[in-house]
């Protein structure tokens, strides 16, 4: 009974928050969103009204008179492999300064095959924070406008307001073609963010393999022991140097490859020379819904299945840069009003991209829009905490509009 009420509360909270997130900044376009007048409920009792119906003779057959009982056995399979657990962040007693750590991975079955083995660690949502003002879709920007140039404040807002479990700090300003920020300055930003929040941190570079290496080395040293998740090491980097820095100062890393399982294996093999398996997360690339999500989905699904079937080089938690969903023009463009306001289209784009990859096996999401974050967290909760199925037997006559 209490549980029921609790569920009801969660249910309405969820909806309320979403609408708040979508509308509290008054830029939402409401022209084609109408609150419908509460419809009349039809409570008419069904009355008997039988018309004589022409009966056609059915084919002759010995027809069963009662239900033929049959057993259903869940189709369980055995998997020789399992995914390694990776811990991100470190508390004081572990040599860092985080209030909590998160652990991802550990799966013994494909994503949410609950009849076989529920995931031991629910997937984690991190929120993206950038170290400089960057172009953002309007639907995202309206939520972070006040913190765009203050990564520490941005991180704080992401944790306190939207429940980021990890902060995913992108040091884009280090790009030699942008601000070319010095490693020591970039490391200072990392320290600021570490001060501002007590959740674990992931630190991303700019994609320039040489500059990223220099910055990662400095950050690894300055944030010694924090078990930062470095995002990311790629095949075109000096893997020895970056891996040694990560190992020496006690951090972990994302191994990033471009939708190619052979590359993913090769990069992992190179990293194994320096790092234990439980320090490596893999990212096989996320493409937006409509712009290659099918490739991203299938590479991840295949990677996870191969790992479970015993491919030791792929037995790592999977990370997804789900924010890439915003690259789809349907997510940010103003379109004909029949496609709805972009303030709804954008976050549902990110949400659908995330939910699709959740079912492929992603353990670590990097996300942006508060409503997308909220929804994916809610879905993960629904998939990991036992919840009694609602009564839908009479749905045909019970939809309200």
């Amino acid at each position: 009974m209490n549980k029921k009420n609790k569920e009801k509360e969660d249910f309405s909270d969820f909806g309320f928050d979403i609408i708040k997130l979508l509308s509290e900044f008054q830029e939402i376009e409401l022209e084609n969103v109408e609150i419908k007048v509460k419809e009349l409920e039809f409570l008419l009792q069904p009355f008997i009204s039988r018309i004589p119906l022409p009966k056609i003779e059915a084919p002759q057959k010995v027809k069963p008179k009662e239900i033929l009982e049959e057993e259903f056995h869940p189709p369980i399979m055995k998997y020789p492999g399992e995914i390694v657990e990776v811990k991100i962040g470190a508390t004081k007693s572990e040599g860092g300064s985080r209030g909590k750590t998160v652990t991802i991975g550990g799966e013994k079955a494909p994503a949410f095959y609950l009849f076989e083995s529920p995931p031991p660690n629910p997937p984690v949502i991190s929120i993206d924070v950038f170290d400089m003002k960057i172009p953002l879709a309007k639907a995202v920007k309206m939520h972070v406008e006040d913190v765009l140039e203050d990564p520490a404040a941005w991180a704080k807002k992401a944790v306190e307001k939207w429940g980021a479990e990890v902060i995913n700090l992108h040091l884009v300003s280090i790009d030699p073609l942008l601000k070319d920020t010095k490693p020591s300055e970039a490391a200072k930003t990392v320290e600021d963010v570490l001060q501002a929040v007590d959740v674990p941190l992931a630190v991303g570079g700019c994609g320039d393999p040489e500059k990223d290496l220099k910055v990662f080395e400095k950050v690894a040293e300055v944030a010694e022991g924090e078990n930062i998740l470095f995002n990311s090491v790629t095949l075109n980097m000096d893997i020895k140097k970056v891996a040694e820095a990560i190992k020496k100062h006690n951090h972990c890393v994302i191994a990033f490859t471009a939708m190619n399982m052979d590359d993913a294996r090769e990069l992992n093999r190179k990293l194994y020379e320096f790092l234990p398996k439980n320090k490596i997360v893999i990212d096989t690339t996320t493409a937006a819904l409509g712009y290659g999500l099918d490739y991203a989905f299938t590479v991840m699904e295949r990677t996870r299945l191969a790992a479970l079937m015993g491919d030791a080089e792929l037995q790592h938690p999977i990370s997804s840069g789900t924010t890439n969903a915003w690259a789809a023009r349907e997510a940010w463009m103003t379109m004909d009003p029949k496609w709805g306001p972009k303030e709804l289209r954008g976050p549902i784009w990110e949400t659908v991209s995330a939910l699709t990859l959740l079912l492929a096996g992603v353990d670590y999401f990097m996300m942006m829009h508060p409503a997308a974050v909220k929804t994916v967290k809610e879905v993960i909760k629904k998939l990991t905490v036992k919840e009694e199925a609602e009564k839908i037997y009479n749905w045909i006559a019970s939809l309200k509009r």
Binding site: I18, I35, P64, K65, E71, F72, L359, K382, I396, A397
Partner: protein
């Protein structure tokens, strides 16, 4: 034996082995290879259809039949086929018959609302990678539980649309009243339950319409019902194990177990298409319709990923249906084939004869990324799309699919020379090594563009100087 591991040799054994080429292949072995890859169907081999090969045909049909049965809803040219799945995971082969999406109407809606919803569903259309994304079905619900009213509603709906129908009522009398109106259109009957199965089975046999089996969150009963209905003589079944928002874990779990039982254990009692009903979120809607529609979109997207062959939806909002129809398109593309777009000249904005000419490949992802970058920066230009057999720039250059010869061919064949006065072409940064050869072969001047198409706008500002 799981279907995907079928080998051409096994199939070949049963073919006529005459190499008659009537199927269009060089020999029977080549035809066998295509059969195994599901690139052709058995009826393309005329000899196998003759009396002489009756037993071989039967054996082949058994070998090649999908573990999830294909079920057709509708008749004539207005049909939608659901199920017919050969594999559980798309990378194992490819998914066939994209999830059919139905929009509901009910017999308690005012007529104008019914007409409006049907017309909206029918006119839904979005052009994506050259394909027209559409909705597939109308589901008519009996709310008032009155045969006459349902009959009238079904008649109305049937008179204004050619979309195939799903008739929804658990009352066999109501169902029959509706079926009488449209039985020739072969609607899907929704649904047989453990209470009404006998009457619904009779209706399904009498009117020759496919039948849904509905057993929310009870797979034992679902399986018992399919066994019973098959014994009863009903062959075309669709399974609904129930869709729940509160109970989402059970929803995904049930769909996943059913599909695995069908594909991996070849459980013939469960080898039928699955139908989901994301519309159930409207049983307890939030005070904000967007919130309910949002949940419906989430539920539907997860069911498209997790094996639903058909869905009944209530929301008609574009922002709900657009991501779903695109997701469906994405997951149902053949993962064995790179997606390619049409080649030739694409026009952006309002180019003049002095506007820049850019070049890219016909790999859909490459093309759409470039196109969206050009559109985003509102550039007036021509984009020459070269046939690289669906490879990206980098792979095409490496694999000799993008060569100076190909570019020359493309310039000549596309007629770009008549559209612009200048002779300068901007090639992708990743194809820079071709620049010399292209200049030599075509007489056009080559500008090497940015490595990533996001840099096009900046590049043009800095480098595009009219001759």
């Amino acid at each position: 034996m799981p279907k995907k591991t079928l080998s051409p040799t096994e199939v070949y054994k049963y073919l006529p082995k005459t190499n008659c080429k009537e199927c269009g292949e060089e020999n029977c072995m080549a035809f066998a290879a295509k059969l195994v890859n599901r690139e052709v169907t058995l009826d393309k081999c005329p000899p196998i259809l003759t009396e002489k090969y009756k037993n071989e045909y039967k054996a082949l049909w058994e070998m090649l039949k999908p573990p999830v049965k294909g079920v057709t809803i509708g008749s004539g040219s207005n049909i939608v086929k659901i199920g017919g799945k050969l594999v559980m995971y798309r990378h194992e082969l490819t998914y066939h018959n994209p999830t059919a999406i139905a929009i509901d109407v009910s017999d308690d809606m005012p007529e104008e609302e019914i007409v409006k919803r049907v017309k909206e569903a029918e006119s839904f259309s979005y052009t994506y990678i050259g394909q027209n994304l559409k909705l597939d079905l109308i589901a008519v619900r009996s709310v008032l539980n009155d045969p006459n009213i349902f009959k009238a509603t079904v008649k109305k709906v049937s008179s204004i649309t050619n979309l195939p129908l799903i008739l929804c009522s658990l009352d066999p009398n109501v169902m029959e009243a509706g079926l009488i109106e449209v039985s020739s259109k072969k609607p899907l009957i929704y649904a047989a339950t453990k209470e009404n199965w006998k009457e619904m089975a009779e209706l399904s046999l009498m009117y020759k319409c496919p039948l849904t089996v509905f057993s929310p969150n009870d797979l034992k009963t679902l399986k018992s019902l399919t066994k019973t209905l098959l014994a009863y003589g009903v062959e075309d079944l669709v399974l609904d194990p129930g869709t729940f928002w509160n109970g989402l874990a059970d929803t995904l779990n049930n769909f996943t177990m059913l599909r695995r039982a069908a594909c991996k254990e070849e459980d013939e009692l469960l080898g039928f298409p699955l139908i989901g009903v994301p519309a159930i979120v409207w049983m307890e809607p939030s005070e904000f319709p967007e919130v309910t529609a949002w949940k419906e979109a989430c539920l539907a997207s997860m069911l498209i990923t997790r094996y639903a062959d058909a869905l009944i939806m209530h929301s008609l909002d574009g922002w709900v249906l657009l991501p779903l129809t695109i997701l469906r398109q994405n997951l149902y593309t053949d993962p064995r084939k790179p997606v390619a777009v049409e080649t030739g000249i694409k026009v952006f904005g309002n180019p003049t004869e002095e506007s820049p000419v850019l070049l890219t490949t016909n790999f859909a992802l490459t093309y759409y990324t470039v196109a969206s970058d050009i559109e985003a920066s509102k550039i007036d230009c021509y984009l020459l799309v070269v046939d690289t057999e669906g490879l990206s720039v980098e792979s095409a250059v490496a694999g000799r699919k993008l060569t100076a010869e190909k570019v020359a061919e493309s310039i000549k064949g596309s007629g770009i020379e008549n559209k612009v006065k200048h002779k300068t072409i901007i090639i992708p940064g990743r194809a820079s090594r071709l620049s010399g050869e292209i200049e030599e072969l075509t007489g056009w001047k080559v500008l090497v563009g940015p490595m990533d198409s996001s840099g096009i706008s900046k590049f043009l500002q800095e480098k595009w100087v009219k001759a």
